[in-house]
Symmetry: D2
Subunit: 345 residues, 4 copies
């Protein structure tokens, strides 16, 4: 294949702790190979606008502890823009990009996959704070988000206990309950509601009544943003959208707290962790994982493994076809969720 002289790198979709670790690793390894690196701004939008600037070691050497992405991000999808893909290919040629490293989720990787078929060689790095991508064990940023949520639940225990309150804690996860299940398990939540299993509010209330029965007058309920229920219509209350038509963070916890208070008459409060879960410095786990993924992505560029992504498999980072990652959402298996039920109540 053609020799690589210059690569581009972009980050797309929601931000996530560890993105800078990936960027940094790609730049360091690329420089080792003697390549130029272009930092493309705002994900695919930057390819549509040819908005990019060179990245040198000095630009990235100190970014490992930083949350977010120095390249900024957007949800722009060139395939949803008139003549978008052609524009991206044209700009890539103008910029002299021989290969593009795309760091992002299902949407961003899907674009990378299609563009490769159209002639722009892309290598992917999977990113989702929700851990719901296939073909990889864990995604970077996830452990940091789980830790933030788990720390918050730890804090809620003592205040709920001191006041004999029920506190409902809303955790990120619209389509998959990974964060809620792991943070709930780590935080000793007394009940966990997820999008995968339709939960019963009445069963949860009975658990609360039993706890009161044995003198435990408080409880922590972990609920995923997108949790579903078998005996409670949360839709109206919790599915608002903002001025941009995005589904609004928050809503389910408030609705659920009111419902629980109504059914049990126990004083119930709610907390929505929201954006605090995705910002800030990445934990060591995500700094290491992001670094290893970026390093591997550069190796994949070198060896021409296009339309593939760097993926954590057990202890190793492997190259897998992007198709595998995007073909379906990775949700929490019932068997995994059932582990948490042993600790309910």
């Amino acid at each position: 294949m053609a020799e690589i002289k210059k690569i581009g790198i972009l980050t797309g979709g929601g931000d996530c702790p560890g993105l800078n670790a990936v960027i940094r690793a790609v730049v360091y390894k690329a420089k080792e190979y003697g390549w130029d690196v272009l930092g493309v701004k705002y994900g695919w939008k930057g390819m549509l606008n040819a908005d990019a600037s060179p990245l040198e070691i000095k630009d990235v050497e100190n970014i490992l502890p930083m949350g977010g992405t120095i390249l900024k991000t957007s949800r722009t999808n060139p395939f949803k823009v008139e003549g978008g893909p052609e524009k991206v290919l044209e700009n890539a040629k103008k910029m002299g990009i021989d290969c593009l490293v795309a760091v992002g989720g299902e949407d961003t990787l899907g674009v990378a996959n299609k563009l490769t078929k159209m002639g722009l060689n892309c290598v992917g790095v999977p990113k989702t704070i929700d851990n719901d991508l296939g073909a990889t064990d864990y995604t970077f940023g996830y452990q940091t988000a789980v830790q933030i949520a788990s720390d918050a639940i730890d804090r809620l225990h003592t205040t709920a206990c001191s006041h004999d309150r029920v506190i409902v804690c809303e955790i990120m996860g619209r389509h998959a309950g990974w964060m809620t299940v792991d943070a709930g398990m780590a935080g000793s939540a007394h009940w966990i509601f997820t999008p995968e299993v339709k939960g019963s509010v009445e069963d949860c209330c009975n658990m609360l009544r039993e706890r009161r029965g044995r003198g435990e007058n408080y409880a922590i309920i972990a609920v995923a943003e997108g949790a579903l229920f078998s005996d409670f219509d949360v839709e109206a209350a919790s599915r608002e959208t903002d001025a941009f038509g995005h589904v609004k963070l928050g809503g389910v916890a408030e609705a659920l707290a009111k419902e629980i208070e109504k059914r049990t008459r126990y004083e119930t409060r709610h907390v929505v962790l929201g954006h605090t879960q995705r910002g800030g410095t990445p934990m060591a786990y995500d700094r290491v994982l992001g670094t290893r993924l970026g390093y591997k992505a550069a190796e994949m560029v070198k060896s021409g493994q296009f339309a593939m992504m760097a993926s954590l498999r057990g202890e190793n980072i492997e190259a897998v076809p992007i198709e595998e990652a995007v073909k379906e959402l990775k949700t929490v298996p019932e068997k995994y969720y059932n582990v948490t039920k042993t600790f309910f109540g």
Copy 2:
């Protein structure tokens, strides 16, 4: 005065990191004096119901790192209960309580003050996570809450920046803006709204426009729960109450975020830190302050300084009349708030 044989201790009002430090210190010092200690449950409610149990060293030696209060708490005010005060005095006599250490805010301390005049000797320890009590420099728990809010704001910077978003962060404080001002200052917030000074949403929006003008496309706005505005009616949207008639946490941030988005068309999100600010392990500052206050309270019982409370004054813990603490709310002086304005924008 009569020799002390047995004391009681209770915690009232909202919980706060460091309450256990106070309880632990009172018990250790009381045992040094050879006194028995009764732990009264649920604040004044426990005195109405004679709900208490003995506290020994073994009960408190490991509670210093624990948030909340092992004695539980409530907002019960005996003076708002038919025959309440008499019942408290009667139970105190039955329980053999020679003196009562009351740890709480304006309301709890006010009760202690009145009861002392009625014959039940009380010593106070001021407690408010909002730092809005007079006659003391800082109250324990406050620094922990400020740290939690400051950490959250740190996290919000990177996600807001990566997405070119404005994020409005709601911080505790219905009547005083201490937490919002200190956490906002510590977190490099770009604007701060408090209950003390009626803020202008339009001035804030102009700041946001100026930031965009110089390419800084994100911002963090810190707003107190009880913030007031000169050009925005937040009341309707943000002053809901729960099934128990308590003013609900949250509301102002959501309303303000919508208003800012409406006026500027900049994508705006909101976060309500809520109960995560008051739970969890106390920071060293509050463990030390709580320990020193509890120790002093026991000394005050010994020396018969009743109707007084232990108070931080510079580097020292002093005994001051409870009246001084409860006579008025300690709000943020304009001069203090003005320091933060230098860093706006």
Copy 3:
């Protein structure tokens, strides 16, 4: 096989964050099965002394956030005690233990393996803060320790930079460099020394000289306790033993710092993280992993998978023969270490 009525559980070897998560999960699942559980004290020593007491839900429901082990631990190996194994078998019978869950490292699991062959059914849960056990991807406690070390390195950067100093940071790991490599990678260390690869102090010093050459006057060096060197005899200085004949934590960092200062004349300091790395509350990752492992161990007892241990494999917890785990030390592969070299200097 015989029906299970009562199981025992013990923790052996060095303590590690997450041990209580395992204990808690074993007890919860065992109670679900209707079994009695005996908590054996101080590892195998407790089996030699028949030192154990029943564990109920109330004993473990709140221990998830606690570091260390509520069962205490020791390094006692019954096979190194005259008539030890027989004594253990005899006591197991006396106590009515149908199966024993042994949580520990190579040594503890090896004992469990041998005892199973002698007639005491054992199930293992692998534990090593050094992550150097085979047949499992990661061990619980490891991520917490890496995070503590990574946080410390983050802190060292700013003080080293402000003073133009070199700081050598000693991290746990006598035989394997996992913690040093991961914490060093996460902490942007400028050089990493491990036990697996004999490092050159002179190469490290040349890196320091190059950094000075481009105006970067500080550096952080991560060194494993058991690091080996090609051009520096660290033995004399850094391999002391305590009054009990155990190799003493610390030593290599101090010796290396002196050597670097001698060779470069750059002001050099050292820090030994020591025991702070193994104590304290487990991170969410280790709470979840420990919980899943303990849950699986109970299932393995139920299904009679003796002389096997619960092991993390990718996303799953599987049962693997203890023999596989103990047959050899899992060290850092050269390929993994080489990733870090890209970031040296």
Copy 4:
């Protein structure tokens, strides 16, 4: 007095969390006044070498969360350099510095005081991580350091307890025990040794024996670097110096641990927190205090309060003569230390 057009700012002595908060606040307020600001490098050394560069808002707007000092620091004292003071005055004139803000400890402030008398107007900001400066309640950086030490002690409890060990934890403080006393109090240390009070190792060992007597087989001992003893000669073992003649961090903990193990035969370990205590991001308390002090320093320059320093007094920041701060070391009052004794054992 002459109108201010340009000011200089420098940081001297050991680094400390919060220095950047001071620098940032001075720059923001100076710009509000319309002044130019010169950032002088490496403390007084930068004045001797005329090593400085302009500071603008963009240079400091994001440094609040950063530990250390962006201006670097040194222990250079111009009065110990031949013709030093004259050189400083000459360079100040050359650089057009109308007033110099000196952030540092006893030594740095003493120089500022003398130089003011010689004609270079200086304003001081007190800095010591040891909290041992007079004329101010607390110094910035101190609370962060105490928190780090307190967190470390929290971690040590569980590992010491799991192994029935005594762990001796060495905390910063050569001449004053503030950090050790506060971190020891916050960390529930079972004994505390400071430089102010000659402690008895035998009394400490008797406490350990009593704890064993009641089945508490572990203990945490907090010891200050410069702790003194009535019945143990620690000098030889713990007062080494490095190649630059600086007293070496560490030593006393190791010597004390060996002595305790020798006397009691209890397994004893030691940890030296060292440089991890002074680096890293400042806590909210220190970010706010540093910001307020820097803001006040700029106001003092404006109002011509030279040879004075900004000082925390209760809730206020006041201007006090530098002489007051440097005239004597602020050590821990016996009354304060005695509070901790109530919790020994």
